[in-house]
């Protein structure tokens, strides 16, 4: 017994747990560890062209050190992409998580009507593929089709907001349900006691429910940040409808372009390592700061 006390049961069982975990570990090795390692390897190499670059052996792969990383860090287009995603991400996170929290609290309020119907409705976009959501909103934004009048929803200054709306629309329900599920698990007696002490619904929400939700809020924030850093589907799908979204609008789109359009795998690999690094640093930093009071027991 290594960890006495809370929850975990625990008894030594030889090879059994490893057998249970074998499928996951094999998949992890093949489809995560190996690709990540391969990306790291590719990112440290470059293609060397000798002569005119014609014929066999004219293009060889050589070790390039951190050259591709230096290029990625010095790439103005990539930086512009990061800035766009930063603005977009701040909008999405604030609106999506704010709405999710409000809806979850409202669903859990004592006297709400139509809770089931509205919960299902707000959660519904979770079942809508990002491509389909972007297509629907994309048409709703199109002058000539839009019921909101002929505004330039896809114009240069506004397109970020329009895109953020698609992500907020698609993601709020899922986050709402995560938070609501956590609220449902709280024993009702907590609230009864507060009510007897004279607390109103708002007081209960602010002083009891939100503090209870902190770990879940942190978790949903981390997931949302990571998802936002990698935004790809929405801008890619919206691109055919407007000329304000470049093929390198988000860092991930630049990776795609480098790898599959311009054929520079090594730059793509270096940039994806940078994106991965930033994702990991952001999420770990976030988790670390709040770990003690969020996950008492990792």
């Amino acid at each position: 017994m290594r960890r006495p006390g809370k929850g975990a049961p625990t008894r030594r069982a030889g090879a059994v747990p490893y057998l249970f975990l074998a499928p996951a570990m094999v998949l992890f090795t093949l489809f995560m560890a190996l690709p990540i390692g391969y990306t790291g390897y590719l990112s440290l190499r470059r293609t060397k062209v000798s002569g005119l670059g014609l014929g066999r052996g004219a293009r060889t792969e050589v070790f390039a050190g951190l050259g591709k990383y230096a290029a990625a860090v010095g790439d103005g287009e990539l930086w512009a992409g990061w800035l766009r995603v930063l603005g977009y991400g701040a909008l999405v996170l604030a609106l999506m998580l704010g709405l999710a929290l409000v809806f979850a609290l409202m669903l859990d309020a004592a006297h709400v009507r139509l809770a089931r119907l509205t919960r299902i409705s707000i959660y519904l976009p979770y079942a809508v593929p990002g491509v389909a959501a972007t297509l629907m909103w994309g048409f709703l934004y199109l002058p000539g089709l839009s019921p909101f009048g002929d505004h330039a929803f896809l114009g240069a200054g506004v397109v970020t907001f329009s895109m953020a709306n698609v992500a907020v629309w698609g993601g709020t329900g899922f986050n709402m349900l995560v938070l609501y599920t956590n609220l449902r698990a709280v024993p009702r007696e907590y609230y009864e006691a507060a009510r007897i002490d004279g607390a109103g619904e708002l007081g209960i929400a602010l002083r009891i429910k939100i503090p209870i939700l902190v770990p879940a809020i942190i978790l949903t924030t981390v997931f949302s940040v990571v998802a936002t850093i990698q935004v790809f589907t929405e801008p890619t799908t919206l691109r055919p409808l407007t000329n304000t979204i470049s093929s390198t609008w988000s860092p991930l789109m630049k990776v795609y372009r480098d790898a599959f359009v311009t054929g520079d795998l090594h730059s793509a690999a270096a940039t994806s390592m940078v994106i991965a690094g930033i994702s990991v640093v952001v999420s770990f930093g976030f988790l670390r700061i709040v770990k003690n009071h969020a996950f008492g027991e990792g």
Binding site: M1, P9, F20, P35, A109, P125, T233, L241, A276
Partner: protein, 285 residues
């Protein structure tokens, strides 16, 4: 819920929360109801009639869509069902046994394995998708069904959910009692734990089914032949081909509507299970 109405006689029935939720529902249902109505409009009606006035072109839109490139839309639908169904079943099995092992055994490396498996949540799909494509190419499997199916079997989030749930739902005392009665570890899992984990498995299946159904990046990178496309990639190519031709808009809108139907239907029919599993988790913890 039902029990709380008893105390509610004194107060007005939650106008603020109800109002906020109704506004939220209007916002989320708006684009869906738009696409339902727009799919009924003929080419001319789409640009001329009021937004929410139903049109007369639904049948011809459907006929056009199914005739598009010799009915490739049907294939996209079938492919999507195959990727999502097969992938979700496998993912559920893998996540459940992993979560159970992580939750109920103490063994050297448990923390490390948990961190590795769940840490995958933080890895951006693109870091994986491009080298996965290259590695599948090396193996001669890029562009096949396997190249889209296999990378989506291990779901870090599902492993995390399964472990949380197994921790709360499977009492250690019950396993101990089973061991004292001489039950083997596999039997304990299969006969004692698995029935208790069923609600979590339904949830994980749904999560993963929806995640694979909605995935765009991986099939977009892996597949070249449009006969193996899932709906998401198919719809994208439809848009890319038709964005500058308003005459193709009906096709795209109708395709979008049809891509929503199966998942929304599944979603609505699984509501009961969803609810059961939420309250079940709450009771058991």
């Amino acid at each position: 819920m039902a029990a709380s109405t008893r105390a509610g006689a004194r107060r007005p029935a939650g106008i603020v929360p109800t109002g906020v939720l109704v506004l939220g529902a209007v916002y989320t249902l708006f684009p869906v109801s738009w696409v339902v109505v727009a799919a009924t409009k003929s080419k001319a009606e789409l640009f001329s009639t009021p937004t929410f006035a139903p049109g007369t072109g639904l049948l011809s839109n459907l006929a056009d869509l199914f005739a598009y490139r010799d009915g490739v839309f049907w294939l996209w639908l079938l492919n999507t069902a195959l990727y999502a169904g097969g992938g979700a079943v496998l993912a559920t099995v893998v996540a459940t046994v992993s979560g159970y092992a992580l939750a109920t055994y103490a063994f050297p490396g448990r923390g490390l394995i948990f961190n590795l498996l769940v840490g995958g949540i933080l890895v951006p799909p693109v870091v994986l998708a491009i080298p996965q494509y290259l590695l599948f190419s090396e193996a001669g499997l890029a562009g096949t069904y396997w190249s889209v199916l296999l990378p989506q079997v291990l779901s870090p989030y599902s492993v995390y959910l399964a472990r949380i749930y197994a921790r709360a739902a499977v009492p250690a005392s019950l396993l101990e009692a089973g061991r004292l009665d001489g039950a083997g570890e596999w039997r304990l899992f299969h006969r004692v734990a698995l029935p208790m984990l069923t609600p979590a498995m339904v949830t994980i299946f749904l999560f993963q089914f929806v995640a694979i159904w909605n995935n765009f990046l991986l099939p977009f990178i892996m597949l070249g032949d449009d006969h193996r496309f899932p709906l998401t990639v198919g719809l994208y190519t439809l848009l890319a081909a038709g964005a500058n031709q308003p005459s193709l808009y009906n096709l795209i809108i109708t395709g979008t509507l049809l891509s929503l139907v199966p998942l929304v239907a599944l979603f609505l029919t699984m509501q009961r299970h969803w609810r059961a599993d939420l309250s079940g988790g709450a009771v058991k913890s």
